[in-house]
Symmetry: C2
Subunit: 232 residues, 2 copies
């Protein structure tokens, strides 16, 4: 009965997150974050996308590549619950799960023909690490997939939102088109778990920058933005 299935990446995604630190816990949280789906050579076929532009949203089924091959445990500790309460893995979207598959709904912004890469998909709301393998892309079908009054268990809403204090001269170091996405990520508290050391400085790698911040009560204060290519 338990026959294994072999699946291969059809694409990978390019995002501004070189590490998993700061990646939103759900695709919906940071709708302004952009990513680019680049198809693998075998699947770089324009015909396979025919009609996709009629859909505003897509499902991505992807792989938690960082923990591929690790064993599973029945319970996990969702960051949402403070990191101290254990929930069943199938009651969470935790990466630490059998088969390591992720599911994200993203907005389709545009299709772009690129000389070396074929047609790529520019999407928004991508809560994925740069280079994440994509195993399937499906259209979001609202009459089947949208259930506004579903009960959301321990994650009924986006959770608490922080006020972000981003000094203007530091914000200017962030490319303009990436600011909205970054601010949204910061507002949703990118720390791995709620920690309460207001002195601690965190560093988040984002779009070639090291975003330094600390969190005091419900305020996130940017302390520095360092261009990683140029050093500090």
């Amino acid at each position: 009965m338990a026959k294994e299935l072999r699946i291969v990446p059809i694409a990978h995604i390019r995002t501004d997150f070189p590490t998993k630190f700061g990646i939103p816990r759900q695709a919906g949280i940071a709708g302004a974050l952009q990513g680019t789906v680049v198809f693998e050579p075998e699947f770089r076929v324009d015909d396979a996308l025919r009609g996709i532009e009629g859909f505003s949203h897509l499902w991505l089924i992807w792989g938690f590549s960082e923990n591929a091959g690790s064993s599973w445990t029945p319970t996990v500790r969702p960051p949402r619950l403070g990191g101290n309460v254990r929930m069943g893995v199938f009651a969470t979207r935790s990466p630490f799960r059998p088969n390591g598959l992720g599911l994200s709904c993203v907005r389709l912004l545009s299709l772009k023909k690129e000389p070396m890469l074929g047609t790529t998909l520019l999407v928004a709301g991508a809560d994925l690490m740069d280079g994440t393998p994509i195993y399937d892309i499906k259209p979001y079908i609202p009459y089947a997939d949208s259930i506004p009054d579903a009960a959301g268990g321990f994650a009924p809403d986006e959770g608490r939102v922080l006020a972000v204090d981003f000094p203007e001269q530091l914000l200017n170091a962030v490319p303009e088109e990436k600011r909205a996405g970054l601010l949204s990520v910061l507002a949703h508290d990118p720390r791995p778990r709620y920690q309460d050391d207001p002195e601690r400085i965190y560093g988040m790698a984002f779009a070639g920058l090291d975003i330094r911040f600390r969190v005091e009560d419900t305020n996130l204060i940017i302390t520095d933005v360092i261009n990683q290519n140029q050093g500090a």
Copy 2:
């Protein structure tokens, strides 16, 4: 880059569809259809379900087991478009796709402890064939997953609905708790593609019964219900 991932079934589902004929094309179409998720022995761990009852809906990531291993083609012909128009496979939910993964949102009705099977999940709206392997179960998180105003491309709604003429003495042969699901499947035109031969009799295997019907204009007329265990 294109490294394969091996995934194993964590469960399989029991439904009333022994063949794929008649299976709704989307989970949302036949919300009354019930199925039971039975975990594989290795994943038969109650702790893995802790907190799941707080969610009204679940995602199932499953395998189109019937066409596993078959090669993919860039375009498919969605039944929804009459079966004559080709669309890109990634713009459809067609089973004939790279990696053969399916995605369905189902309603969680109850958890049940069964002596030989451990805890099983009774779900509604399952558009899956009996025995389909399940690779992942995730909670439906409405703030991230529900996008009521998403544009649905060529499948903006449930499509046309047929009037079902089911003579009472034939309906009595169907177990009472399965009637609503069956009627809903029939109303959504279970024929593989729109065909227009009003004389043709179709047979659909459902819950141990052979449901015989024909379709004339927008009417589906039940001609017989045969108990397959007892013969005609």
